[in-house]
Amino acid sequence: MLAYTLKRLLTLIPTLLAASILVFLFVHLIPGDPAAILLGDTATPEEVAQLSAEMGFDRPLWIQYFFWLGNVLQGDLGTSIFFREPVLSVIGSGAETSILLATMTMVWIIIIGLPIGILSATKHGTWIDQITSSGAMLAASIPTFWLGLYLIMIFSVTLGWFPSSGFPSLSDEGGISNLRYLLLPSLTLAAPNAALIVRLVRASMLDVSREDHVRTARAKGLHPSRVAIKHIFRNALISVAAAFGFTFAALISEAVVTETVFSLPGIGRLVVQSILRRDYPVIQGVILVIVVLYMVINLLVDLAYARLDPRVSLK
């Protein structure tokens, strides 16, 4: 297993490098002088020239890339124009929110999406299946921000059960109970994704139920629910697990909208604000972090795949 992991890591590196090149080029693709962009609108021509020389913007592009890469590997992602702090710490302060939000959302997706998907598949052809399938598709068609706005209207404004914006850190007073700030946002984010999982679980289970080994399982006189879970679902899990990984990765970017609606101090909102503020170092830094995260998740999905399906060769 370890060898397999290392092998996969190795194949990851070229892709990471290629992606890093794209991210690096990002600043240079923006029309205008990179140094001027980095310093923002308020810089004087002298400051621009000085930074240009310091940063080596007059050197060939590929040399600049290597210097940049070197910095990145040492943890230096540049300095935010707006915050005048290292990009990494700016990102770090938003990380807690985003990670907690993503985790809570995944929890909802699993506890809502899986059972409904399984139910839908086992009751295939009945009205239960029709309702859950169509319902899931409907839920997947709702724009997250619209859902978020209405959840705020109902639960925060009208009923006053949950707060509608902000998120104090877990290390502030309130501790774990501060998670209630993330309840509505995570539900908002979970809804369309849970719907997709419902549909995927349903489709996978229906496909598997047509396979021969399910017939064998039934021929053993097993109870239908045992057949459904231990045989059908267990096999469907192989494709579903992959989807979970990608869903988690997709959550990272979809959280952008939710964080904006609920004014959460997360990385998503940071990206949007940085775009509006033209804080390019931060944008670049966030993209890099997210891309790396995405790839790590892909790797984990591969490993899970190997664990779930004995046919996958660990060579």
Partner: protein, 341 residues
């Protein structure tokens, strides 16, 4: 192609005692595009302990559906039993509550299928899959079950059974997987084993091994076997009695010896003639002219008449009744016995 000692064991129908399995006038229909199309139209046969019944016919004649119907695996909205009865060990299977039906499946009646490559669950070890069957029907501890599985694997001639018990299906060959299926089917010592084309997907040499194994196990355990095949040669070698199906009906049924001694139905004659024989030089391979009509083509009269050399107007308009051509040898043909031997 001799079946010398086999044929004399039992007659096909109606001894005084109740046979282990009695199928009477079974009718199965498929619903397609809002219509109900009959697939099996009134077939009857029986099997006794220690007997092997072979059901032979071309693809689409309904033999597989019949076996699934007996086993109770016709679950679903598209295929349904629409008439007739199935009695097993004195019980009326069609009126049995679901729970009791499942108590029989894998326990007193078991089935093995055509595709060993896909009939086992790929994510569980083969030992665990057999244990699952054991623990479903018997109160037996896990370790006792494991021992029993090793016994079974030895019985079906899987080498190194105590190691192979932890193999995954994809680590075994097709022939080995079919043996595992047999072991699983026989794990609770069933009275009836239904084998739906068990050797069709295997190499010829492996075929013989598996069939020999089944015959051997029958001798040991006294299991009744229903063997389904499209290969008349296989049937001839292994079965005590034969039922020939064509398009949902029983064209001919007799003990193997009687059947091969004197064929009564033109279709059976056609099947026999189309088997190439190794030790003779033949210029043409004889085939039955025409093709099996599709489900939706509605035919009047005898189902076989469009392809039959002896067909007359009578055949085109009247469905032949089942007649007793000889004692224990039934046929559905207006001209039974008039085929040139």
């Amino acid at each position: 192609m001799t079946a010398s000692t086999r044929g004399s064991k039992t007659t096909l129908r109606g001894s005084d005692h109740m046979a282990l399995l009695e199928v009477e006038n079974l009718e199965i229909a498929v619903s397609a595009r809002g219509k109900l199309l009959p697939v099996v139209q009134g077939i009857s046969f029986s099997v006794d302990d220690n007997e092997t019944l072979g059901i032979v016919g071309e693809s689409g004649c309904g033999k597989s559906l019949t076996s699934l119907a007996i086993m109770g695996l016709l679950g679903g909205t598209t295929v349904r039993i629409t008439g007739g009865s199935i009695r097993f060990d004195g019980m009326d299977l069609l009126t049995l509550p679901e729970k009791d039906r499942r108590a029989i499946m894998g326990n007193r009646m078991a089935m093995i299928f055509q595709e060993p490559m896909t009939s086992l669950n790929p994510v569980y070890r083969i030992g665990d899959q057999i244990i699952e069957n054991l623990r479903q029907h018997q109160s037996i501890s896990n370790s006792a079950a494991r021992d029993r599985v090793v016994e079974l694997l030895t019985l079906v001639r899987i080498p190194s059974p105590s190691e192979r018990i932890d193999s995954f299906p994809h680590q075994m060959s097709g022939g080995q997987r079919q043996r595992v299926m047999i072991a699983m089917a026989l794990s609770c010592d069933p009275k009836l084993l239904i084998a739906d084309e068990p050797t069709t997907a295997l190499d010829v040499t492996v075929q013989k091994e598996v069939l020999d194994l089944m015959a051997d196990l029958q001798k040991r355990m006294g299991t009744a076997i229903v063997l389904i095949s499209h290969d008349l040669g296989v049937i001839a070698e292994t079965c005590d009695k034969v039922a020939v199906m064509y398009r949902g009906r029983m064209a001919e049924a007799a003990s193997t010896a009687d059947l091969f001694a004197e064929l009564a139905h033109p279709y059976t004659r056609g099947l026999l003639n189309s088997i190439p024989v190794v030790d003779r030089d033949v210029e043409w391979l004889e085939a039955i002219p025409g093709r099996v009509p599709t489900l939706e083509e509605n035919l009047t009269g005898c189902a076989f008449h469009p392809r039959c050399a002896l067909a007359t107007e009578l055949c085109a308009s009247n469905v032949p009744a089942t007649t007793e051509f000889k004692p224990g040898h039934s046929v559905q043909c207006h001209f039974a016995g008039k085929v040139a031997s």
